[in-house]
Amino acid sequence: MAQILQYLANGLVFSSIIILGSIGLSLVYSIADFANFAHGDTMTLGAYGAFVAFGVFGGLGGTVLGLPIGFFLALAVGMALAAVVAVLTHILVYKPLDTDSIGLLITSIGVAFVYRAVLQASFGTDFLQYDIRRSGPIPVLLDTLDVAVTQRDVAIIVSAAVLVAGLHLLLQRTTLGRKMRATADNPDLARVSGIRTDRVILVMWVVGSALAAAGGVFLALYSQLDPRIGFNILLVVFAAVILGGIGSVYGAMLGGLLIGMLHELTPLLGDIGLPISNAYAPAVAFVIMVAVLLVRPRGIAGDMT
């Protein structure tokens, strides 16, 4: 039982990362209408941006949840960097293209490679770590529930929750959010209604990429940093978006939660005697994704935006 609780706790941390990634992917899918294969590498880009910034602000101020204040500043820098790069990519690469969604999809693979090549050339392929001391599990939870959760895990979950709540408020309570939802729902109708969809698309790139970057930073914080982390997790993020229903931001959140949990619950299959090791966690996510595509291609949240 404690074992399952432990898996669920890990799942919550991993879900937080996947959710941050899946929101941006879903936004691009619904507003720009293509499967963005560069999204994973946008996550990596944010993680490296924060890594460099943390080198500058590292020693700053006290700590929140075991993480220095400087780390949160670095996180903001990473998010801003990813947003700027994504907007530039949109203006320089995607926008001038006269092609269909498949052409955009193929182009985004090229963009992904260029991002990764730049990171690999600048930082090498060695594993890097944010220079933050790892602390042990929180004693209270370890004693009462026998679950090992570090302060860092809690920080990831809380930060992701804050970001997601912020997005929710943006979408539901602001005019900009209404414009975004309208554009995602029906771009042509939005345009004739007087919404400047060009600007909405830019905002969408900013929001999606910044959240992806946050996901990348937390992923690097959770495990480690190398130029492939984003691309390696991209398919899992796709699985979450498809499970949630392409084009639905809230669906993507739900899908991210489920896929993250299932990913971390994979060892359970081994525990009950199936010959499926931990290494198959991504494979489990992909198989679920294909199954969803076959049975219910609209995903669990359908067309809800």
């Binding site: 499967a35 999809l105 182009t107 693979i109 490679f113 260029v114 690999q120 198989v287 294909v290 076959l294």
Partner: protein, 369 residues
């Protein structure tokens, strides 16, 4: 190669042929002057031909049928692993089977996988097919990486024999092999040169056979239906065609060609590992196809050649130490930029299909293409 038969062709086609000719002359010069080992040049020719095969395989799926298959690496890898597991001395399950028989092991594995991947995914929308096939290819790679009791895992398979190792004459040559013309010794060839040359002969035969086969089926009614499906699948359905069956057939044929490339690769490099199944292999082949021209087999050949030029050129450039960037990121950067610029500037590729779609007879002079 067909890119070289210059006849009444467009300036662009002549340009491509001229460029390839110049490159061939340059490489020959490099060999004559001793800059490039002959065996290495032959190895590169073999590798280019392997990428040509992969590109032609993808061309059947994407170029003819419009199916976005991102699991090229999986079919290539299964072809390679299929033959390696049967023939290699280091194989954990069998080993020692003749390569000619093992060839069918590799093809069989790929055919089975093609049906397994194709059956659920070919009914999907184009972009879902891309994501799903990439995911399933990763499942194959993860399987090979982790089931080391069958596949030797991350260590990879060693001790793969040469394709001709157990053939009557070719298997028992003595080295250095001296080539006589009229009683006078003409060439004194080392083992590496002879084996590389034999590999080139083998792959040239495969490429030629596949090329002719594809040209034939592309021009057949079957190919016509497939092109209709690519343009408008609903139209094909309305005409009473079972589009799923046609797509499945094209998917399996393309996958078999990719597996053939994998089999050849095994016996060329004599080592396979899960690294060969990385998604980057898939995207190399995609670059080759869209660069050459979607739907064009001559374009696929040009594309295959370009990929090897990128792979080897980056290695050469970084070996000279003239660049501040490693070979791997440079290659990634070039491939990425190529993709972006092709879609932007020449979405139809360098040698788009033109005459390939027309029966030679209907061109007037009855000239064969």
């Amino acid at each position: 190669m067909s890119a070289l038969d210059v006849g009444a062709y467009s300036p662009r086609e002549k340009g491509v042929a001229g460029l390839l000719g110049a490159l061939a002359a340059f490489l020959l010069l490099a060999v004559v002057t001793g800059f490039l080992a002959p065996a290495y040049l032959l190895y590169l020719v073999g590798l280019s031909a392997m990428y040509m095969l992969l590109s032609m395989g993808l061309n059947v799926q994407w170029g003819y049928g419009g199916m976005i298959n991102f699991s090229v690496a999986a079919f290539f890898g299964l072809g390679a692993y299929g033959t390696a597991l049967l023939t290699a001395s280091g194989s954990p399950i069998s080993g020692g089977v003749s390569p000619v028989i093992a060839l069918f092991g590799g093809l069989g594995l790929a055919a089975v996988l093609a049906v397994i991947i194709g059956y659920p995914t070919l009914k999907l929308r184009d972009d879902y097919l891309a994501i799903a096939s990439l995911g399933l290819a990763e499942v194959v790679r993860i399987f090979i990486l982790n089931e080391s009791q069958w596949t030797a895992g991350s260590a990879g398979l060693t001790g793969i024999p040469l394709f001709f190792s157990d053939w009557p004459v070719l298997g028992d040559l003595t080295y250095p092999y001296i080539f006589y013309v009229g009683g006078t010794p003409l060439f004194n060839m080392s083992q590496s040169v002879v084996t590389s040359a034999l590999n080139v002969v083998l792959v040239t035969a495969i490429v030629a056979a596949v090329y002719l086969f594809l040209r034939r089926i592309h021009q057949s009614p079957w190919g016509r239906v497939l092109r209709t499906i690519r343009t408008d699948e609903d139209l094909a359905e309305t005409l009473g065609k079972n589009t799923f069956a046609f797509k499945m057939q094209a998917f399996v044929i393309g996958s078999l060609i990719m597996a053939l490339a994998g089999v050849f690769y095994s016996h060329l490099v004599l080592f396979v590992s899960p690294q060969d199944l990385q998604p980057i292999t898939t995207f190399y082949v995609w670059v080759a196809v869209i660069l050459g021209g979607t739907g064009s087999d001559r374009g696929a050949m040009l594309g295959g050649f370009t990929i090897v030029a990128i792979q080897q050129g980056t290695r050469f450039l970084t070996d000279t130490g003239a660049l501040p960037i490693g070979a791997a990121p440079l290659r990634l950067m070039l491939v990425g930029l190529l993709i972006i610029f092709i879609v932007r500037l020449r979405p139809e590729g360098i040698l788009p299909p033109e005459r390939e779609l027309i029966w030679p007879d209907s061109l007037g002079g009855g000239r064969d293409e």
